[in-house]
Each structure stands twice: as structure tokens, then as C-alpha cells.
């Protein structure tokens, strides 16, 4: 699904674009009486300093002009931009800056939701969609760090072994379902996206600490993370 | 990974203290964890190594170590990524030196 198909499916009552580039867009959509600020990447966007600034600006403007307005991140990214120029200017600083903007928005009572509708890869996903209170993905979307052949080359573990293990373990291979089991994706969406969004907004309005470790444990994808964190908290 | 276990007589280590760790699990290196055990005149060593087929060399290193040092009543566990016998001996010696440097209380 591309952004032209996604936006009307999420906002049958109406979507208004405010600003847009080839790979990023921002605007507002209506869900019942609620106006939602939409900040998105599209067409397998590379996340460079410019895209991080574009999104950060939209978050900051929302915080300044529209107290408590829900923010919805829509993601279709191939990951961070792999260019010397972006690294030279401090890409990790730009991306961390966006994360700070989102955290400030959360702290000020803006519900934050994200939806992966295309791909979400590694660094391109981290300080955007993964910062949400609730992270969602379409059933046919893709979330990953790296594909298995590249992983096999770098870890020097035979591809066959990785593929065998990937069939039983959600810990390393690409897939929205694996991220569901890890406790990161709250729900996988298909069919009536507008209804899903309405439900998501209702749930997200109740502020909470990061629940993903608990979910990862409940779903069996991350059995150790929560117990280890609790042990550290309790250690004499 | 290959797991090897050794149990050798060794002069009693008289100092009682918290566990000691030396080394790093990096290529050509190993980490050595030393803890108190109840087997007074013995040193138990467990090795987890990514380099297969070197049991006789580990045997020699561990025998040499338990003869030279006071390792009786200690339990040692090693995570190894292809360290040479010289590096392993060095780490074992470093671990005992740290052990003997301090005591509880």
C-alpha cells in the first residue's frame, strides 16, 4: 500500500496535507471529533538529516500550536541514509533530536501512535515510529534490521542455520509477526483501517510507561528482558 | 562450542572472597571466572571453547596451573574464543593474583 491509498483508508472523513516532499509528508486527518496530526515517510524513504528535521519541525509545531493533539507516524523507510555527508554532519544527532521532540510531546500529553505501512528498517524506524506509545503495522508490511543473507555474511553463521532457527525463533529474522512477539508491535492491522485507528486513539489516550517488555514476556518472544530489568531494579 | 571439564588436586587457597573475573570474550582471548567451591584440595575447571579438538592442550595448561598456584577449593569457568595456551595461562595467573590481592572484610 502506498501513501495515496493509505491516507483515505485511515481518514475516510478527510485528510488535509500541510507539507510534503518526495519522501515525507505532514498534515491532519479527522477521526470523529478528533483532529490527528500525521507525520509520515513514504516510498522507502532514506532517513537523513533533512527528513529528521522535517519530522522534528512538525512535532514541535504541533506541541506549540495544538496542545494534546494526537500524533500519528506513518512509516515507509529503507533505513538511515548511507552517505558520508549525513554522517559528517552528525546524522545520529539529528535522529536523536527527533526522538527528543517526540518525548517532549508525550510528556505534554500528546498521544503518540505509529503505523508501518511499507517497510521499517533499523535506524530509519528507531527514532520515528518506535518512539510511539503504541506501534502498529499492516499485515503485509515489513519490519527488520537486516535480511538473512547479509546477516549470515556478517555473523559468519551459515545462512541455512539462520533460516532453520528463524522458523522457530522470532529473535532475529525480518517480519512484522516477529516484532509482535517481541512485544513491540501492539497489533497487526488489516481490512478496516479507519476502525483500527479509532480504536488505537481511544487506547492511546491513557498515558502509560513503555509496556513492551511486559508484552514481550507475555507473548514469549522476549522471556528474559523484563525479569532481568526487574532484577537490576531490586538488586541490593 | 566444545565443553571440557577438569578436576585436579591443588594446594589450598586460603583467602576467602567474592568471585573474580578477568579477561574478555574476544577473538584470541578468553574470560576466566573464579569462585569459591567446597572441594578443599581440588580445583574444578570448566571450559567452553569455540576452538575444537584441543583437549590435550587444555589438560596440560590446567595441570600446570593447578600445580603452580594455590587453586584448591576454587571452581573456575572459562569462556574461550581461541586464546593460545600462553594467553590462557596468563589469564589464570591474573585471576589468582587478583584473588590473592584482596580479601573480604
Amino acid at each position: 500500500m502506498n501513501r495515496e491509498q493509505l491516507l483515505p483508508a485511515l481518514f475516510p472523513s478527510g485528510w488535509t496535507e500541510q507539507s510534503s516532499t518526495a519522501h515525507a509528508f505532514t498534515g491532519t486527518g479527522q477521526v470523529g471529533d478528533t483532529t490527528v496530526q500525521v507525520i509520515g515517510s513514504s516510498d522507502a524513504a532514506e532517513v537523513g538529516g533533512d527528513l529528521a528535521l522535517f519530522m522534528a519541525r512538525s512535532v514541535l509545531d504541533t506541541v506549540r500550536d495544538h496542545p494534546r493533539r494526537p500524533i500519528l507516524f506513518l512509516l515507509d523507510t529503507q533505513g538511515q541514509r548511507l552517505r558520508r555527508h549525513d554522517e559528517m554532519l552528525g546524522l545520529n544527532g539529528y535522529m536523536a533530536h527527533l526522538a527528543k521532540c517526540v518525548e517532549i510531546a508525550r510528556h505534554r500529553g500528546h498521544p503518540i501512535i505509529s503505523l508501518v505501512y511499507g517497510q521499517a528498517v533499523s535506524g530509519g524506524y528507531l527514532t520515528t515510529g518506535m518512539m510511539a506509545d503504541a506501534c502498529y503495522a499492516l499485515a503485509d508490511a515489513e519490519i527488520k534490521v537486516m535480511n538473512l543473507p547479509a546477516m549470515a555474511r556478517i555473523t559468519k553463521i551459515p545462512l541455512k542455520r539462520l533460516e532453520e532457527l528463524a522458523a522457530q525463533s522470532p529473535v532475529f529474522s525480518p517480519g512484522v509477526d516477529n516484532y509482535f512477539r517481541m512485544g513491540h508491535v501492539l497489533e497487526v492491522w488489516s481490512d478496516d483501517l479507519a476502525a483500527h485507528l479509532q480504536q488505537a486513539l481511544a487506547t492511546a489516550s491513557i498515558p502509560q510507561d513503555d509496556q513492551r517488555m511486559r508484552l514481550g514476556q507475555d507473548r514469549g518472544g522476549r522471556k528474559l528482558a523484563r525479569p532481568v530489568a526487574l532484577r537490576v531494579l531490586a538488586h541490593a | 562450542m566444545e565443553e571440557l571439564k577438569f578436576d585436579l588436586p591443588s594446594a589450598a587457597q586460603t583467602i576467602a572472597r567474592d568471585p573474580v573475573l578477568v579477561g574478555v570474550v574476544a577473538s584470541g582471548n578468553c574470560e576466566v571466572l573464579v569462585e569459591q567451591s567446597k572441594a578443599v584440595g581440588h580445583c574444578a575447571v570448566t571450559v567452553h571453547t569455540s576452538a575444537h579438538g584441543f583437549a590435550p592442550i587444555w589438560q596440560a595448561v590446567v595441570e600446570d596451573f593447578s600445580a603452580r598456584r594455590h587453586a584448591g577449593g576454587l571452581s573456575i569457568e572459562i569462556n574461550d574464543v581461541g586464546a593460545t595456551p600462553a594467553v590462557v595461562s596468563l589469564r589464570l595467573d591474573q585471576a589468582i593474583e587478583v584473588w590473592e590481592e584482596h580479601s573480604n572484610g
Binding site: 526522538a99 505534554r108 | 568471585p19 571466572l33
Partner: protein, 294 residues
């Protein structure tokens, strides 16, 4: 005699940073909280999963401290490593130490546990920022062989303040990855001087990504960390708006820059070629009036 921070292990660095005799470890190696995922892949494990955490004093003040072992799988973050660090930050929100000191030496997400690692990094970013909003101060130290890349590079730039040595590297993607994808003209990862010009401590200091540049010496890192204890903590909307303006300015001002020396020259450094020869003190004396502030 100088004690090279670069050559030291995580444990050695941590002990050299904190006040002598004050370190108390949480989940020590004897607890054997190692990675079940590495075991399943028949890979070597570390008893502490490559990160040392605990409480200590720094300059007499209570801190929580973590040190990543860059020698173990490049210091990369897996499920247990990540959870140890999240737990430490959760603990900081309860105990309110004078600072959380992060001795960073990591390439980012551990591929063997890629999904767990990515989610852990995301949890860490949220945890650090939530704690900062409650006034907890985060001091990051970067100067190891692993560098500070990927998710760890993001966590670094979520800290209040950063200290680097010239030998330290801080970036998002490693030069090798960029070269693999876009070729050697884009980034010759074997050109060490280029790698350090782009990702090394002196460049990061000049463009305002870090706060202090020190010698590759454990005592120098310790002294800098103690100095930074008195920098105000917290994270406000005003701080972030200010940072936005600076980052926007940097993006526009250096849009045409090809090499970091172009940037240094534009910042008023008279002889950019000389910078790599200078000691940390000489460099800071020269750079402090020129650099962009974050």
C-alpha cells in the same frame, strides 16, 4: 603513567572512572545472566553479556554506571545487555543519583538477536529521555575500539553531555557499511584519516556534537566526568527548540561541504591539516573559540 582508555577493558575503564573502592556490581558475572540466543546459535557467551553495571561514587557523589565491553561482539546490544541497561535507568528514576555514567563502546544492535536488540535500543532511548525529563543527568564517555555506532550512537546523543577522545568514533552507520552500499568513492573505509575526520572526537567537538575532548587516558575521562556532574540536567521544550535551530543552521550552512576540513575552515580553523597532530589540550585551546555549540 598514562593508562590508555582505548586499550582498557570495560571493567578496567569503569574502575578507573569511579572513586576507588566504591563500585558495587549488579548482576555480576557469577550470576551468569548470559544470552540464551547466542547459545542457541552455538556462539560464545559472556557471563555478563558484555555489559558491566552497578552503583559507585564519582567525586564523592552517588552515581549509577554502565560500561559496554567493545571486545565482545563489538559491544553490540542483545536482549540481556539491553535489559540490564534499561533496569539501571529504571533504578536511576527511583534512586535519583547525581548522574548515570555510560561508558559506551558498541556498534549498535547485536545481529544474532537483531529484533530483540532493536526493540531494546528503542526502550533505552525512551528510558533515557523519560529519566532526563525527571531531571536525571546522563554523562556519556566514548573512546573505545568499538566506537559508538547505530543504536548506541542514538543513545549517546540522548545523553545530557558527551566526552570523547580523538580515538573515539561516533556516528550512525559504519564506514564499511556505507562503502559496501555506495562504493569506495562515497566512503573509503580503509582511509583511517578520513574515518577519524568524519566520525572522530575532534570533528564531533568542532561541530558541537559533544561537550569535551580529552586525551586517550582513563584519568582524563574521569576528570571530565567529574567536571560534568555540575552541568544542569533536565530536558525542556526550550532546549529542544534551541537544538533544532542549531541543527537546522548546521544543515544549511554546510550543505556544500565535501570534507570535514571544509567545515573546520568555515568555522575559522586556520590550519585544518594540523588538527590531528595536536594534543587534546592544544586542540581544545584552538577549537573552543571556533566551534558550533550544541
Amino acid at each position: 603513567m598514562a593508562n590508555s582508555y582505548f586499550d582498557s577493558s570495560a571493567r578496567e575503564r569503569l574502575l578507573a572512572t569511579v572513586d576507588a573502592g566504591t563500585f558495587h556490581e549488579f548482576l555480576p558475572p557469577s550470576a551468569r545472566v548470559a544470552s540464551p540466543h547466542l547459545r542457541q546459535l552455538d556462539q560464545p557467551v559472556a557471563f555478563d553479556d558484555g555489559i558491566v553495571i552497578g552503583s559507585a561514587r564519582l567525586g564523592g557523589q552517588p552515581i549509577l554506571v554502565a560500561a559496554q565491553e567493545g571486545g565482545f561482539l563489538g559491544g553490540a546490544i542483545g536482549e540481556v545487555h539491553g535489559a540490564k541497561l534499561v533496569g539501571l535507568i529504571d533504578r536511576a528514576r527511583v534512586e535519583k543519583p547525581a548522574a548515570v555514567v555510560l561508558i559506551l563502546d558498541s556498534g549498535g544492535v547485536r545481529l544474532h538477536e537483531a529484533n530483540a536488540g532493536l526493540v531494546a535500543v528503542s526502550e533505552l532511548i525512551r528510558a533515557v529521555l523519560a529519566a532526563r525529563l525527571e531531571g536525571i543527568r546522563f554523562i556519556g564517555l566514548i573512546g573505545g575500539a568499538g566506537g559508538c555506532f547505530g543504536g548506541t550512537g542514538l543513545i549517546a546523543r540522548c545523553c545530557d553531555v558527551l566526552v570523547m577522545s580523538e580515538e573515539g568514533r561516533l556516528a550512525m552507520s559504519g564506514p564499511e557499511v556505507i562503502e559496501t552500499v555506495h562504493g569506495v568513492e562515497e566512503f573509503d573505509s580503509r582511509d583511517r584519516a578520513l574515518v577519524w575526520r568524519v566520525t572522530g572526537g575532534k570533528h564531533r567537538y568542532l561541530i558541537g556534537e559533544i561537550d569535551e575532548l580529552v586525551e586517550d587516558d582513563a584519568a582524563a575521562f574521569r576528570d571530565a566526568a567529574i567536571r560534568l556532574l555540575s552541568v544542569p540536567g533536565g530536558l525542556s521544550l526550550a532546549d529542544v527548540e534551541r537544538e533544532h535551530a542549531q541543527l537546522q543552521r548546521r544543515w544549511t550552512r554546510f550543505a556544500e561541504a565535501e570534507d570535514p576540513t571544509d567545515i573546520w575552515r568555515a568555522l575559522g580553523v586556520a590550519d585544518p591539516a594540523q588538527l590531528s597532530m595536536l594534543t587534546a589540550a592544544e586542540f581544545v585551546a584552538l577549537a573552543a573559540p571556533c566551534r558550533s555549540h550544541s
